[in-house]
Symmetry: C2
Amino acid sequence: MNVENTQVQMRKGILEYCVLHIISRGEVYASDMLDELTAAKMIVVEGTLYPLLTRLKNAGLLEYKWVESKSGPPRKYYTLTDKGSKVLEKLTKTWDELVHSTQMITSKSRAT
Amino acid sequence: MNVENTQVQMRKGILEYCVLHIISRGEVYASDMLDELTAAKMIVVEGTLYPLLTRLKNAGLLEYKWVESKSGPPRKYYTLTDKGSKVLEKLTKTWDELVHSTQMITSKSRAT
DNA sequence: GGCTAGTACTTGGCCATACATAGTACTTTT
DNA sequence: AAAAGTACTATGTATGGCCAAGTACTAGCC
């Protein structure tokens, strides 16, 4: 057990929420998302993002279409399904509650 | 894959942070922590909390002493070690950054 | 003394996700 | 045709939260 590992654990689940949110704003493909996640300092690597997208797609939250690219192989552009939108709503609520709960606990100061 | 599961995943790591914070405020035993976590709507069950405490203790972040109880078996009262305090500081930073990163992403609205 | 109920803590197994790493497929450049 | 770059796929590992069953101690009761 070390700090780095806990930091990894903290990201679990939250990444899924962020990815759904990014896709909800319009069609994107994986590298776009990686750029945005990296810009927000939400460190993610390919090996994490691609399997996540596949999981979300298999769960019926996403769909994609192939789009030809001018510089390389075709890309999968993702969009949210209705089901995906509903899940995103629930996750937003869950995340807000989690932040709130954590704040309730960590804002208390030492008893004297 | 379902929403409940993601909600469980979101708690990963965060729970550790909350537990360290609670202990940092003074000696407590497991049931006290369960009460506070439940009050903050951070749902936790025994089977999660006890193993977590054991992990943290084995990692040298916590220590405990047995204290006799008037109504049942003796209790383990936990306190933070120096190492535990340092880890708590790092996790506080990590958590704040994570909240900030998530906010950066989820506060963006749909592109038009 | 033996029995039940309640409290506190322990243990083993299951599952899902983040990550590392290696690999496939397509396009462009030289 | 070979090399380089981009996009996506596949496999295996580690970890933490949870469930469920179990152990151990105390108190109250007959």
